[in-house]
């Protein structure tokens, strides 16, 4: 029996659309990536406000305090009580003084959980005031208008 030779062809896949899409995806994720996680904490659920708009300018010497719903404060990854916050704030104030800055010019960002007790937030503000901090920012989640 005579075997017929089948002519084989190398089939090449067109990779161009896939590469295009992949680069677009990379560009998308690169634009949205956020390395600054120091001011975020997944334990804190911020209250919402329609007036809370992202700051247009950088805050001066920001210090972020996370106030939990368990009456504690997280500063620099460490969880302390409101009373235990004072040494940390004194240290921050002395670091600022060494840099020739006044604590009054620094900004304390308060990220309070929506279920945190008001007295805890007030206690945090009072502790900061005792360490000579004057400028506070209450952070809230952006909410669409009514």
């Amino acid at each position: 029996m005579k075997l017929t030779k089948v002519k084989t062809e190398i089939t090449e896949m067109d990779m161009t659309p896939m590469i295009d899409m992949t680069f677009q995806l990379i560009a998308f994720f690169m634009m949205l990536i956020n390395f600054a996680e120091g001011d975020q904490n997944e334990r804190i659920q911020l209250p919402a406000s329609e007036l809370a708009k992202p700051a247009v300018s950088l805050l001066e010497s920001p210090i972020t305090l996370h106030v939990t719903d368990k009456d504690s404060v997280i500063i620099g990854g460490q969880e302390v009580s409101v009373d235990g916050l004072k040494p940390f704030m004194d240290r921050e104030a002395s670091v600022l003084s060494m840099r020739g800055k006044s604590p009054a010019a620094a900004t304390v960002i308060i990220r309070g959980d929506k279920d945190a007790r008001t007295i805890t937030v007030q206690g945090v503000i009072k502790t900061c005031q005792l360490a000579r901090f004057e400028r506070f920012v209450l952070r809230a989640k952006e909410e669409r208008g009514y």
Partner: protein, 163 residues
Amino acid sequence: MQIEKKGSEAKVEMQMTPMIDIVFQLLTFFIMTFKIVAAEGDFDIKMPLSSRSEGPPPEEQLPPMKVRLVATSGGQLSKIKLNDNDFGVSFDGLHNYIISLIGDDRGPGSNQESAEVELDCDPQLHYEHVIRAITAVSGYTEADGNIVKLVEKIRFTPPKPGG
């Protein structure tokens, strides 16, 4: 003259495999580190330790507005009061009252510039109600997205000893 054809035309193909490998690794990295974060905004408050001014306020200035937020034992809001006005639990009522007090007057010496609100909250009140109160007194967003400011000076009543 006859031109001699040198050699055969070889098709040069770019090696795509390493590039695709790297691109997929990058894509995997970005997908794994991607976090959806809600946009956050700030309320600026300047609050020195002794901010209360001594003596009566000038006559042209609005009288001090003390917003009292009463809480249930569970920390939920049970009453909003501004001086002698009771708004129940309606922040809209408080907001509209503040608008009626401030009016459209803006600029130096205006009611809007001099108005000051003191928040007197029960200790156990949940913080979200405080933010809602601050939102109600500090302004509103117009349809075109502009923010109209009302009261900019906001402070807290110092916690009562043992509270």
